[in-house]
C-alpha cells in the first residue's frame, strides 16, 4: 500500500513534469513577445532588451525551462506579466471559489445522475427509463455555455429566482453548479444505469432475491454498492472535464475562479499564469485519479493496491 502510494506519487510527479514541459514548449511557440508586452508602447529597444534579459527570455529554450522547473519545485510559479503578482497568490485567491463551485457541481451531478441512473435501471425499458435516458442524452449533448445561458435566461432573467451572476451567497452558486453538473449528471446517469443493469444480472443479486429481499432492498443494499465502483473511477476523470468546464461556466456566470483567471491570462498571453493554471489543473486531475484509485478498495474489498 505504501509502496503503491509512493509509486503512484512518483508517477504523478513525472506526469506533471511532462505536462509542465509540454505546456512550456507550446507557450514558447505562441507568437507574442512577453518582453515587448511588458515594456509597453513607449518603450525603447533597450528597455525591451533589458526586460528580456531579466526574464531570461534570451536564454536557450532548455535553460528557460530548467529555470522555470527549478522554481516550480520550490513552489514558485513566477510572477504574472500583466498583474505583476505572484502567480501562486493569484491562483490561491481564485482557487476557493472554483473548488466551491466544483464541489457543488459534483454534488449536483452525483445526486441527480446517480438517482436518475438507479431509477432508470429499476424501471428498465419502461416509460420512466426512456424519459430519463432522453434527459441524460440531452445532458451529454448540450454544451455548457448553452445550458448556462439557458438557465440564466430562465431562472435569473425571466423568473428572477436567482442572481444573474456573481459570487457570494448560496443562491449565487446554484445556477453555475447546475450548468457545470448538467453534463456530468447525463454521463453519470447513463453510466450508473448500465452499471446497475450489469449488476442486476449478477448471480449475487439473484442470491439476494432468493433470500427474500425486496426489490428496493436488492437495489439499494446489494446492487448500488457494486454498481458504484466503475462510477467512482469516473469521478477522478471528471476533474479533467470540470477543469475544462469551469473556463466556460465561470465566464458565463462571472464566477471569480481560476477558469476566468486562465481565460484572462490566455487573452493577454500572460505566460506564467497560463503555466500556473495548467500545472495546477493537471495536478488536480492527477490527484483526482489517484484519489479515485485509493478510494476504490474501500468500496470494493476485492481490489488490492499493489
Amino acid at each position: 500500500m505504501v509502496a503503491y502510494l509512493i509509486r503512484r506519487l512518483v508517477q504523478a510527479v513525472l506526469i506533471l513534469i511532462g505536462v509542465s514541459f509540454v505546456t512550456f514548449v507550446l507557450l514558447y511557440l505562441v507568437p507574442a513577445d512577453p518582453a515587448r508586452q511588458i515594456a509597453g508602447r513607449s518603450a525603447t529597444a533597450a528597455t525591451v532588451e533589458s526586460i528580456r534579459e531579466q526574464l531570461g527570455l534570451n536564454l536557450p529554450f532548455y535553460e528557460q525551462y530548467w529555470r522555470y522547473f527549478v522554481n516550480l519545485i520550490q513552489g514558485d510559479f513566477g510572477r504574472s506579466y500583466i498583474q505583476k503578482s505572484q502567480v501562486g497568490e493569484l491562483i490561491a485567491a481564485r482557487l476557493p471559489p472554483t473548488l466551491l463551485l466544483m464541489a457543488a457541481a459534483i454534488c449536483a451531478e452525483l445526486v441527480f445522475g446517480l438517482t436518475m441512473g438507479v431509477i432508470a435501471a429499476a424501471n428498465r425499458r419502461r416509460i420512466g427509463d426512456n424519459l430519463l435516458m432522453i434527459v441524460s442524452f440531452v445532458g451529454v449533448s448540450a454544451p455548457q455555455f448553452v445550458v448556462g445561458i439557458l438557465l440564466l435566461y430562465l431562472f435569473a432573467v425571466k423568473l428572477g429566482w436567482f442572481p444573474i451572476g456573481g459570487y457570494g451567497t448560496a443562491a449565487h452558486i446554484v445556477l453555475p453548479a447546475l450548468s457545470l453538473g448538467f453534463l456530468g449528471a447525463g454521463w453519470y446517469s447513463r453510466m450508473m444505469r448500465s452499471s446497475m443493469l450489469d449488476v442486476l444480472e449478477q448471480d449475487y443479486v439473484r442470491t439476494a432475491r432468493a433470500k427474500g429481499a425486496g426489490r428496493w432492498r436488492v437495489i439499494v443494499a446489494h446492487a448500488v454498492p457494486n454498481a458504484l465502483l466503475p462510477v467512482i473511477a469516473m469521478i477522478g476523470i471528471d476533474i479533467g472535464l470540470f477543469m475544462s468546464g469551469i473556463v466556460v461556466v465561470e465566464s458565463v456566470f462571472g464566477w471569480p475562479g481560476i477558469g476566468q483567471l486562465a481565460w484572462q491570462a490566455i487573452q493577454r498571453v500572460d505566460i506564467p499564469v497560463i503555466m500556473g493554471v495548467t500545472v495546477v489543473s493537471a495536478t488536480a486531475i492527477v490527484l483526482g485519479n489517484l484519489l479515485a484509485d485509493l478510494v476504490a478498495p474501500f468500496i470494493d474489498p476485492r481490489i488490492k493496491l499493489r
Partner: protein, 523 residues
C-alpha cells in the same frame, strides 16, 4: 472648460464601484490599463495634474514651476507638508527617486519611454548609470529637471501616473509587490485588497487639499459581469458600473425612464481606426489606402454599435487640441474607391488579411469593415486573435496588412496631439515591436513634429497646435489609417452620487474622478 460646483459637496459615506476584471497592479510605475489608471491617480499624486473634469494642466504636488528660456530646464517648487500614507513628508528626493525608478530597466515600467527627453535617460535606461543626471533635488522642496531637448509636452508627461511620487522605503519594503501595497500621497489610501474579490480605499485624513476627498471609503468589487453590475446598480446596491453600460443593454437602458438622470454622456480621447501596413503590398500604394478609406461605411458601423460613437475622418479625436474642425477627410464613396483601385492596378481587387482582437464587439466591427471592403473587391480575411497576438503581429513588418485597433485602441495618455503621433504614426514607432502598425514613416513630418514639440513658449501654443493640425491633415492625406469612429463615453451611476457631470466623464479619470465624487446628503 471650467467645472461649476452647483452645491456644497457633502462629506462622508461609502461608494461601491464594480468591475469585471481583477485590478492588476496599483504601482504607478507599472499600472497601465484604463481600470487601474484612475485608481492609481487617487492613491498617488504627481507634480502636475489636470483640473477635474477638464484637460487643463495645473500644478499639484508642485506649487509652481519655472521654465527656462530655451525650454530645457524646469524648476518645480514643491508643496510643503505633503505626507505619504505612511506619515513621512514627501520631499524633492522622493521626486528624483520616483523618476529614476520609472526609468530604471529593472522596474520594467511600460512608461519609461515617456521620459526620453530628460537628460541622462539613455544612460540610466540602458543600465550604464544608476542615477538620472537630468534630475536634481536642489533642496527639500525644489526639483530641477534638465532636458536634453526642448519638449512642449513635458508638463503633460509630469502629470502621467508614471511620474507620480512614491516613497522609497515602502517600495523597498514590498519590492515587486509594491503594486499590491501602494503607499502614496493621494486622496485615498489602500485599506484592503482581497485578490479576486475586492479592493477598498479609505480617505486620506492628511490629504493636503482642503475638502478632498469627499468619501470615507470606496469599495471596488471585481469579478462582476457588466450585465450583473447594471442590475445591481439599478437595485441601488452599487454606485458605479466601472465597465459602463454593456452594449447589449445600451438601447434598453438609454430609453428606460428608470435610468433617467443616471447616465452621463461625454467624449474621450479615443479614435478607432484600421491600420494599413504601408510596408506590405498593395498598401504601399496611397491610392489603395485611400480607396479603403472611401469604401468603409462609417455610419453603418456606428449604427451597429448602437450609436455609441461618432464617425471619424482624421486621426485626432474632437476633444484633442489640434482637431481639424473644418477638415472633410476622405468621404464615403464606394464607386470612387473602385475607380481608385482600378487606377492603382487592382481593378479585380485583391486578397488581404484584417487582424482584430477576439473580444466582442471587435470581430463584429471587423466583419462590417470586411463587407464594405468586399464591395470594392478587396477580400479581407479576418484573423480574430487574442489581443496580445494581434499586437505582436502589428509589431512585425510583414505580418499584419490591416489591423482594426478596437479593444487595443489608442486612448491618449495625455491630452496633447503629440501623443497621437510619436509611437503610432511616427518613424520611432515603425520598428519591430513598435506600435506604429501601419509602418508609416515620413521623415519630413517627423522633423516638423520634433520642431512643433520644441515650441515650449506658452505664447506660441496656438501656433504649435496649428502645426500639429496640419501634420495630421497631411498624414490623413496619405491615409496610412482609415479612421472609423470616436467612441463616446457613457457613465452610469446611482442617483445618490453627487457632483458635476464633468467629473463623471472626466477625460483622464475613467470612469469617474474618484476624489471629487460625493454622496448626496439626503441619501
Amino acid at each position: 472648460a471650467t467645472v461649476s460646483w452647483a452645491e456644497e459637496p457633502h462629506m462622508g459615506g461609502t461608494m461601491t464601484v464594480t468591475y469585471k476584471d481583477d485590478v492588476s497592479t496599483l504601482d504607478p510605475a507599472i499600472g497601465y490599463d484604463w481600470q487601474n489608471w484612475s485608481m492609481i491617480k487617487s492613491l498617488f499624486d504627481g507634480l502636475m495634474d489636470y483640473r477635474p473634469g477638464t484637460t487643463e494642466l495645473v500644478p499639484d504636488l508642485a506649487e509652481g514651476y519655472e521654465i527656462s528660456g530655451d525650454g530645457k530646464t524646469y524648476t518645480f517648487t514643491l508643496r510643503q507638508g505633503v505626507k505619504f500614507h505612511n506619515g513621512r513628508e514627501m520631499t524633492a528626493d522622493d521626486v528624483k527617486y520616483s523618476l529614476e525608478r520609472v526609468i530604471d530597466p529593472k522596474t520594467q515600467s511600460p512608461g519609461a519611454g515617456f521620459f526620453g527627453a530628460i537628460e541622462g535617460f539613455e544612460a540610466l535606461n540602458s543600465g550604464e548609470a544608476d542615477t538620472l543626471s537630468g534630475v536634481e533635488a536642489v533642496d527639500d522642496y525644489t526639483v530641477r529637471i534638465t532636458l536634453s531637448r526642448p519638449d512642449a509636452t513635458f508638463l503633460h508627461v509630469m502629470a502621467l501616473n508614471f511620474a507620480h511620487v512614491v516613497p522609497k522605503e515602502a517600495v523597498e519594503e514590498w519590492g515587486q509587490d509594491f503594486g499590491k501595497h501602494p503607499v502614496g500621497t493621494g486622496a485615498y489610501s489602500m485599506e484592503e485588497w482581497t485578490l479576486g474579490q475586492r479592493v477598498v480605499f479609505a480617505r486620506n485624513e492628511d490629504y493636503y487639499k482642503e475638502g478632498v476627498p469627499r468619501l470615507d471609503k470606496i469599495v471596488f468589487e471585481v469579478g462582476q459581469e457588466p450585465i450583473v453590475a447594471l442590475l445591481r446598480l439599478e437595485r441601488g446596491e452599487t454606485d458605479i458600473a466601472g465597465d459602463g453600460i454593456p452594449p447589449a443593454k445600451f438601447l434598453q437602458v438609454t430609453k428606460d425612464p428608470k435610468y433617467e438622470g443616471m447616465i452621463v454622456e461625454g467624449d474621450q480621447l479615443h479614435t478607432g481606426y484600421v491600420t494599413m501596413n504601408v510596408a506590405m503590398k498593395p498598401f504601399d500604394d496611397v491610392r489603395v489606402r485611400k480607396a479603403v478609406n472611401m469604401a468603409i461605411n462609417k455610419d453603418r458601423i456606428v449604427r451597429i454599435i448602437n450609436g455609441r460613437a461618432a464617425p471619424a475622418n482624421q486621426p485626432l479625436p474632437p476633444l484633442m487640441p489640434g482637431y481639424a474642425e473644418d477638415y472633410e477627410g476622405i468621404p464615403y464613396d464606394p464607386d470612387g474607391a473602385k475607380a481608385l483601385l482600378a487606377e492603382a492596378g487592382y481593378g479585380d481587387g485583391f486578397e488581404t488579411e484584417l487582424f482584430v482582437a477576439n473580444t466582442d464587439p471587435q470581430p463584429r466591427i471587423a466583419q462590417a469593415i470586411q463587407q464594405d471592403l468586399a464591395q470594392i473587391g478587396i477580400k479581407a480575411q479576418i484573423k480574430a486573435l487574442a489581443q496580445a497576438n494581434v499586437i505582436a503581429a502589428g509589431g512585425e513588418k510583414d505580418q499584419a496588412p490591416m489591423i482594426w485597433s478596437g479593444g487595443m485602441a489608442w486612448i491618449a495618455d495625455f491630452p496633447d496631439p503629440s501623443n497621437f503621433y510619436g509611437p503610432i504614426l511616427g518613424c520611432g514607432g515603425a520598428v519591430p515591436g513598435g506600435w506604429n502598425w501601419s509602418w508609416y514613416c515620413n521623415e519630413e513630418l517627423d522633423k516638423r513634429a520634433v520642431a512643433a514639440d520644441a515650441m515650449v513658449d506658452t505664447a506660441k501654443q496656438d501656433e504649435r497646435i496649428a502645426e500639429w493640425r496640419d501634420i495630421f491633415v497631411a498624414i490623413q492625406e496619405e491615409a496610412p489609417w482609415a479612421p472609423i469612429f470616436n467612441e463616446k463615453r457613457y457613465t452610469i451611476r446611482s442617483k445618490r452620487l453627487g457632483g458635476p457631470d464633468a467629473i463623471f466623464v472626466d477625460p483622464v479619470h475613467i470612469p469617474v474622478h474618484y476624489d471629487y465624487v460625493y454622496i448626496k446628503e439626503d441619501q
